[in-house]
Protein backbone atom coordinates (compact mmCIF):
# COMPACT_ATOMS: atom_id res chain seq x y z
CA UNK A 1 0.00 0.00 0.00
CA UNK A 2 2.68 2.52 1.07
CA UNK A 3 5.00 1.36 -1.70
CA UNK A 4 2.37 1.52 -4.42
CA UNK A 5 1.43 5.04 -3.35
CA UNK A 6 5.06 6.15 -3.45
CA UNK A 7 5.66 4.62 -6.87
CA UNK A 8 2.59 6.19 -8.47
CA UNK A 9 2.89 9.58 -6.80
CA UNK A 10 6.56 10.20 -7.60
CA UNK A 11 6.10 9.30 -11.26
CA UNK A 12 3.10 11.62 -11.44
CA UNK A 13 4.99 14.47 -9.78
CA UNK A 14 8.02 13.93 -12.01
CA UNK A 15 5.88 13.96 -15.13
CA UNK A 16 4.04 17.09 -14.02
CA UNK A 17 7.35 18.82 -13.27
CA UNK A 18 8.75 17.84 -16.67
CA UNK A 19 5.60 19.00 -18.41
CA UNK A 20 5.77 22.29 -16.53
CA UNK A 21 9.39 22.91 -17.54
CA UNK A 22 8.60 21.96 -21.12
CA UNK A 23 5.64 24.30 -21.49
CA UNK A 24 7.73 27.03 -19.86
CA UNK A 25 10.78 26.61 -22.11
CA UNK A 26 8.91 25.30 -25.13
CA UNK A 27 11.12 22.23 -25.40
CA UNK A 28 8.40 19.60 -25.54
CA UNK A 29 8.98 16.69 -24.96
CA UNK A 30 12.62 16.53 -23.77
CA UNK A 31 12.13 17.40 -20.09
CA UNK A 32 8.86 15.50 -19.93
CA UNK A 33 10.66 12.28 -20.82
CA UNK A 34 13.71 13.00 -18.64
CA UNK A 35 11.63 13.87 -15.58
CA UNK A 36 9.33 10.91 -16.13
CA UNK A 37 12.41 8.74 -15.73
CA UNK A 38 13.61 10.76 -12.74
CA UNK A 39 10.17 10.32 -11.22
CA UNK A 40 10.47 6.59 -11.65
CA UNK A 41 13.91 6.65 -10.05
CA UNK A 42 12.58 8.69 -7.12
CA UNK A 43 9.73 6.23 -6.74
CA UNK A 44 12.11 3.30 -6.57
CA UNK A 45 14.26 5.21 -4.09
CA UNK A 46 11.28 5.89 -1.84
CA UNK A 47 10.12 2.29 -2.13
CA UNK A 48 13.63 1.18 -1.14
CA UNK A 49 13.43 3.45 1.89
CA UNK A 50 10.11 1.95 2.95
CA UNK A 51 11.39 -1.60 2.56
CA UNK A 52 14.62 -0.86 4.40
CA UNK A 53 12.76 0.96 7.17
CA UNK A 54 14.72 4.18 6.70
CA UNK A 55 13.43 7.51 7.96
CA UNK A 56 11.65 9.84 5.58
CA UNK A 57 13.81 12.94 5.76
CA UNK A 58 15.41 14.35 2.64
CA UNK A 59 18.56 12.59 1.40
CA UNK A 60 18.92 8.85 0.99
CA UNK A 61 22.59 8.76 2.03
CA UNK A 62 21.84 10.57 5.28
CA UNK A 63 18.95 8.24 6.04
CA UNK A 64 21.16 5.17 5.53
CA UNK A 65 23.89 6.66 7.72
CA UNK A 66 21.43 7.51 10.49
CA UNK A 67 19.97 4.03 10.46
CA UNK A 68 23.39 2.41 10.65
CA UNK A 69 24.30 4.83 13.41
CA UNK A 70 21.18 3.95 15.38
CA UNK A 71 21.76 0.23 14.93
CA UNK A 72 25.39 0.60 15.95
CA UNK A 73 24.27 2.26 19.16
CA UNK A 74 21.82 -0.56 19.79
CA UNK A 75 24.52 -3.20 19.29
CA UNK A 76 26.82 -1.52 21.77
CA UNK A 77 24.05 -0.85 24.29
Amino acid sequence: MRISVELVVTVAVGTALGYGIDSWLGTMPIFLIVFLLFGGAAGVMNAYRVVKGLDESVGLGGAVARKENAEGKKDRG
Binding site: V9, T10, L17, A42, S57, G59, L60, G61, G62, R66
Partner: protein, 255 residues
Protein backbone atom coordinates in the same frame (compact mmCIF):
# COMPACT_ATOMS: atom_id res chain seq x y z
CA UNK B 1 -27.06 -21.34 -2.91
CA UNK B 2 -28.31 -21.31 -6.50
CA UNK B 3 -25.83 -19.64 -8.75
CA UNK B 4 -28.41 -17.64 -10.76
CA UNK B 5 -29.78 -16.21 -7.55
CA UNK B 6 -26.55 -14.60 -6.44
CA UNK B 7 -26.12 -11.87 -9.07
CA UNK B 8 -29.76 -10.82 -8.75
CA UNK B 9 -29.55 -10.57 -4.97
CA UNK B 10 -26.17 -8.96 -5.12
CA UNK B 11 -27.52 -6.23 -7.35
CA UNK B 12 -30.45 -5.53 -5.09
CA UNK B 13 -28.43 -5.30 -1.89
CA UNK B 14 -25.73 -3.08 -3.34
CA UNK B 15 -28.28 -1.00 -5.25
CA UNK B 16 -30.11 -0.31 -2.02
CA UNK B 17 -26.93 0.52 -0.13
CA UNK B 18 -24.20 1.35 -2.64
CA UNK B 19 -20.81 1.07 -0.93
CA UNK B 20 -19.74 4.44 -2.32
CA UNK B 21 -22.85 6.26 -1.15
CA UNK B 22 -21.27 7.07 2.21
CA UNK B 23 -18.64 9.25 0.54
CA UNK B 24 -21.14 11.42 -1.30
CA UNK B 25 -20.80 15.12 -0.56
CA UNK B 26 -24.28 16.62 -0.30
CA UNK B 27 -24.93 20.30 0.11
CA UNK B 28 -27.02 21.26 3.13
CA UNK B 29 -27.16 25.02 2.69
CA UNK B 30 -26.60 25.92 -0.98
CA UNK B 31 -24.46 29.06 -1.24
CA UNK B 32 -23.06 30.50 -4.44
CA UNK B 33 -20.64 33.41 -4.52
CA UNK B 34 -19.60 34.76 -7.91
CA UNK B 35 -20.55 31.56 -9.73
CA UNK B 36 -18.46 29.44 -7.35
CA UNK B 37 -20.31 26.76 -5.44
CA UNK B 38 -19.37 27.26 -1.79
CA UNK B 39 -22.35 25.38 -0.32
CA UNK B 40 -22.27 24.25 3.26
CA UNK B 41 -21.97 20.49 2.78
CA UNK B 42 -22.19 17.49 5.07
CA UNK B 43 -18.39 17.40 4.88
CA UNK B 44 -18.19 20.97 6.17
CA UNK B 45 -20.77 20.17 8.84
CA UNK B 46 -18.72 17.22 10.09
CA UNK B 47 -15.59 19.38 10.13
CA UNK B 48 -17.42 21.98 12.20
CA UNK B 49 -18.64 19.23 14.54
CA UNK B 50 -15.08 17.91 14.85
CA UNK B 51 -13.71 21.34 15.70
CA UNK B 52 -16.57 22.04 18.09
CA UNK B 53 -16.24 18.67 19.78
CA UNK B 54 -12.49 19.04 20.21
CA UNK B 55 -12.92 22.60 21.47
CA UNK B 56 -15.62 21.62 23.95
CA UNK B 57 -13.59 18.66 25.15
CA UNK B 58 -10.52 20.74 25.91
CA UNK B 59 -12.65 23.49 27.42
CA UNK B 60 -14.27 21.07 29.85
CA UNK B 61 -11.02 19.19 30.42
CA UNK B 62 -9.20 22.32 31.47
CA UNK B 63 -12.13 23.99 33.24
CA UNK B 64 -11.30 22.62 36.70
CA UNK B 65 -7.55 22.44 36.65
CA UNK B 66 -6.16 20.60 39.62
CA UNK B 67 -2.81 19.13 40.57
CA UNK B 68 -4.37 15.69 40.78
CA UNK B 69 -6.10 15.50 37.39
CA UNK B 70 -9.65 14.29 36.99
CA UNK B 71 -10.68 11.90 34.24
CA UNK B 72 -11.08 14.45 31.45
CA UNK B 73 -8.04 16.40 32.51
CA UNK B 74 -5.83 13.34 32.46
CA UNK B 75 -7.01 12.47 28.93
CA UNK B 76 -6.14 15.99 27.82
CA UNK B 77 -2.79 15.80 29.60
CA UNK B 78 -2.05 12.43 28.00
CA UNK B 79 -2.72 13.85 24.56
CA UNK B 80 -0.55 16.85 25.31
CA UNK B 81 2.30 14.66 26.55
CA UNK B 82 1.94 12.35 23.56
CA UNK B 83 2.33 15.12 20.99
CA UNK B 84 4.92 17.03 23.02
CA UNK B 85 7.09 13.92 23.28
CA UNK B 86 6.61 13.20 19.60
CA UNK B 87 7.90 16.66 18.73
CA UNK B 88 10.80 16.48 21.21
CA UNK B 89 11.88 13.09 19.90
CA UNK B 90 11.57 13.88 16.21
CA UNK B 91 12.33 17.58 15.97
CA UNK B 92 13.94 18.57 19.25
CA UNK B 93 13.08 21.41 21.57
CA UNK B 94 13.32 23.91 18.71
CA UNK B 95 10.19 22.31 17.30
CA UNK B 96 8.08 23.08 20.37
CA UNK B 97 7.40 26.48 18.81
CA UNK B 98 5.15 24.68 16.35
CA UNK B 99 3.40 22.56 18.98
CA UNK B 100 0.02 24.31 18.67
CA UNK B 101 -0.11 23.66 14.93
CA UNK B 102 0.87 20.00 15.17
CA UNK B 103 -1.44 19.38 18.12
CA UNK B 104 -4.35 20.97 16.25
CA UNK B 105 -3.61 18.84 13.20
CA UNK B 106 -3.53 15.67 15.24
CA UNK B 107 -6.76 16.41 17.08
CA UNK B 108 -8.54 17.46 13.88
CA UNK B 109 -7.55 14.35 11.94
CA UNK B 110 -8.12 12.06 14.92
CA UNK B 111 -11.59 13.40 15.70
CA UNK B 112 -12.43 13.38 11.98
CA UNK B 113 -11.44 9.74 11.64
CA UNK B 114 -13.34 8.78 14.77
CA UNK B 115 -16.48 10.68 13.76
CA UNK B 116 -16.37 8.72 10.52
CA UNK B 117 -16.70 5.52 12.50
CA UNK B 118 -20.15 6.52 13.73
CA UNK B 119 -22.97 4.92 11.72
CA UNK B 120 -24.70 7.28 9.22
CA UNK B 121 -21.86 9.72 9.67
CA UNK B 122 -19.47 11.05 7.07
CA UNK B 123 -15.69 10.72 7.03
CA UNK B 124 -14.25 13.99 5.82
CA UNK B 125 -10.73 12.53 5.88
CA UNK B 126 -11.86 10.08 3.18
CA UNK B 127 -11.85 12.92 0.67
CA UNK B 128 -8.58 13.72 -1.02
CA UNK B 129 -9.59 17.37 -1.28
CA UNK B 130 -9.56 17.62 2.51
CA UNK B 131 -6.38 15.65 3.15
CA UNK B 132 -4.60 17.34 0.23
CA UNK B 133 -5.52 20.76 1.61
CA UNK B 134 -4.04 19.77 4.99
CA UNK B 135 -0.94 18.27 3.38
CA UNK B 136 -0.32 21.21 1.04
CA UNK B 137 -0.57 23.65 3.94
CA UNK B 138 1.94 21.51 5.88
CA UNK B 139 4.25 21.33 2.87
CA UNK B 140 4.18 25.08 2.22
CA UNK B 141 4.62 25.89 5.91
CA UNK B 142 7.58 23.54 6.25
CA UNK B 143 9.22 24.86 3.08
CA UNK B 144 8.80 28.46 4.26
CA UNK B 145 10.26 27.56 7.67
CA UNK B 146 13.19 25.87 5.94
CA UNK B 147 13.96 28.85 3.74
CA UNK B 148 13.44 31.31 6.57
CA UNK B 149 15.90 29.46 8.81
CA UNK B 150 18.54 28.44 6.30
CA UNK B 151 18.06 30.74 3.32
CA UNK B 152 19.45 29.35 0.09
CA UNK B 153 21.39 26.73 2.07
CA UNK B 154 18.11 24.88 2.19
CA UNK B 155 18.77 23.79 -1.40
CA UNK B 156 21.94 22.08 -0.15
CA UNK B 157 19.69 19.46 1.43
CA UNK B 158 19.01 17.97 -2.00
CA UNK B 159 22.65 17.09 -2.51
CA UNK B 160 24.13 14.75 0.09
CA UNK B 161 27.55 15.50 1.55
CA UNK B 162 30.39 13.36 0.25
CA UNK B 163 28.66 12.25 -2.93
CA UNK B 164 30.76 12.64 -6.10
CA UNK B 165 30.01 15.94 -7.81
CA UNK B 166 29.38 14.17 -11.11
CA UNK B 167 26.28 12.51 -9.69
CA UNK B 168 24.69 15.89 -8.90
CA UNK B 169 22.60 16.21 -12.10
CA UNK B 170 21.16 12.80 -11.34
CA UNK B 171 20.72 13.04 -7.57
CA UNK B 172 19.28 16.53 -7.30
CA UNK B 173 16.23 16.00 -9.55
CA UNK B 174 15.52 12.67 -7.87
CA UNK B 175 15.66 14.14 -4.37
CA UNK B 176 13.70 17.16 -5.57
CA UNK B 177 10.91 15.01 -6.98
CA UNK B 178 10.93 12.94 -3.82
CA UNK B 179 10.59 16.17 -1.83
CA UNK B 180 7.81 17.54 -4.04
CA UNK B 181 5.88 14.28 -3.86
CA UNK B 182 5.57 14.57 -0.08
CA UNK B 183 2.26 16.41 0.12
CA UNK B 184 0.73 13.94 -2.33
CA UNK B 185 2.04 10.89 -0.56
CA UNK B 186 0.94 12.34 2.79
CA UNK B 187 -2.59 13.08 1.62
CA UNK B 188 -3.04 9.91 -0.40
CA UNK B 189 -2.00 7.75 2.54
CA UNK B 190 -4.62 9.17 4.90
CA UNK B 191 -7.35 9.36 2.28
CA UNK B 192 -6.73 5.88 0.87
CA UNK B 193 -6.66 4.22 4.29
CA UNK B 194 -9.92 5.81 5.37
CA UNK B 195 -11.70 5.18 2.05
CA UNK B 196 -10.58 1.58 1.67
CA UNK B 197 -11.58 0.69 5.21
CA UNK B 198 -15.04 2.16 4.90
CA UNK B 199 -15.72 0.55 1.51
CA UNK B 200 -14.56 -2.79 2.84
CA UNK B 201 -16.91 -2.52 5.82
CA UNK B 202 -19.85 -1.64 3.58
CA UNK B 203 -19.19 -4.43 1.08
CA UNK B 204 -18.73 -7.06 3.78
CA UNK B 205 -21.87 -5.82 5.52
CA UNK B 206 -23.68 -6.37 2.21
CA UNK B 207 -22.48 -9.98 2.25
CA UNK B 208 -24.14 -10.51 5.63
CA UNK B 209 -27.57 -9.98 4.06
CA UNK B 210 -26.63 -11.83 0.86
CA UNK B 211 -25.53 -15.03 2.51
CA UNK B 212 -28.55 -15.59 4.69
CA UNK B 213 -27.79 -17.93 7.60
CA UNK B 214 -24.18 -18.26 6.49
CA UNK B 215 -24.00 -14.50 6.95
CA UNK B 216 -22.72 -15.10 10.45
CA UNK B 217 -19.28 -15.56 8.93
CA UNK B 218 -19.05 -12.15 7.24
CA UNK B 219 -20.75 -10.66 10.30
CA UNK B 220 -17.89 -11.90 12.48
CA UNK B 221 -15.43 -10.52 9.95
CA UNK B 222 -17.21 -7.15 9.93
CA UNK B 223 -17.06 -7.10 13.71
CA UNK B 224 -13.33 -7.72 13.65
CA UNK B 225 -12.72 -5.20 10.89
CA UNK B 226 -14.71 -2.54 12.74
CA UNK B 227 -12.28 -2.88 15.63
CA UNK B 228 -9.41 -2.79 13.15
CA UNK B 229 -10.89 0.35 11.60
CA UNK B 230 -10.89 2.13 14.96
CA UNK B 231 -7.25 1.18 15.28
CA UNK B 232 -6.48 2.42 11.76
CA UNK B 233 -8.38 5.66 12.40
CA UNK B 234 -6.12 6.37 15.38
CA UNK B 235 -3.00 5.08 13.65
CA UNK B 236 -3.47 7.21 10.55
CA UNK B 237 -3.92 10.33 12.67
CA UNK B 238 -0.65 9.38 14.36
CA UNK B 239 1.12 8.73 11.05
CA UNK B 240 -0.09 12.02 9.64
CA UNK B 241 1.24 13.89 12.67
CA UNK B 242 4.57 12.09 12.90
CA UNK B 243 5.24 12.69 9.22
CA UNK B 244 4.57 16.38 9.79
CA UNK B 245 7.15 16.23 12.60
CA UNK B 246 9.68 14.54 10.31
CA UNK B 247 9.16 17.12 7.59
CA UNK B 248 9.48 19.88 10.17
CA UNK B 249 12.68 18.28 11.42
CA UNK B 250 14.15 18.52 7.93
CA UNK B 251 13.31 22.20 7.79
CA UNK B 252 14.61 23.04 11.27
CA UNK B 253 17.70 20.84 11.63
CA UNK B 254 18.98 20.41 8.12
CA UNK B 255 21.10 17.32 7.86
Amino acid sequence: MAEELVPALEESVFDLHPPMHQFEVRSIVPIEIGGVDVSFTNSALLMCIAVGLAGLFFWFATAHRSVVPGRLQSVAELMYEFIANMIRDNVGTAGMKYFPYIFTLFVFVFVGNMLGMLPYSFTFTSHIAVTAALAVVIFITVTIIGFARHGTHYFGMFFPHGAPLLTAPLLIPIELISYLSRPFSLSVRLFANMTVGHIMLKVLAGFVILMGVAGVVPFAVVLGITVLEFFIAALQAYVFTILTCIYLNDAINMH
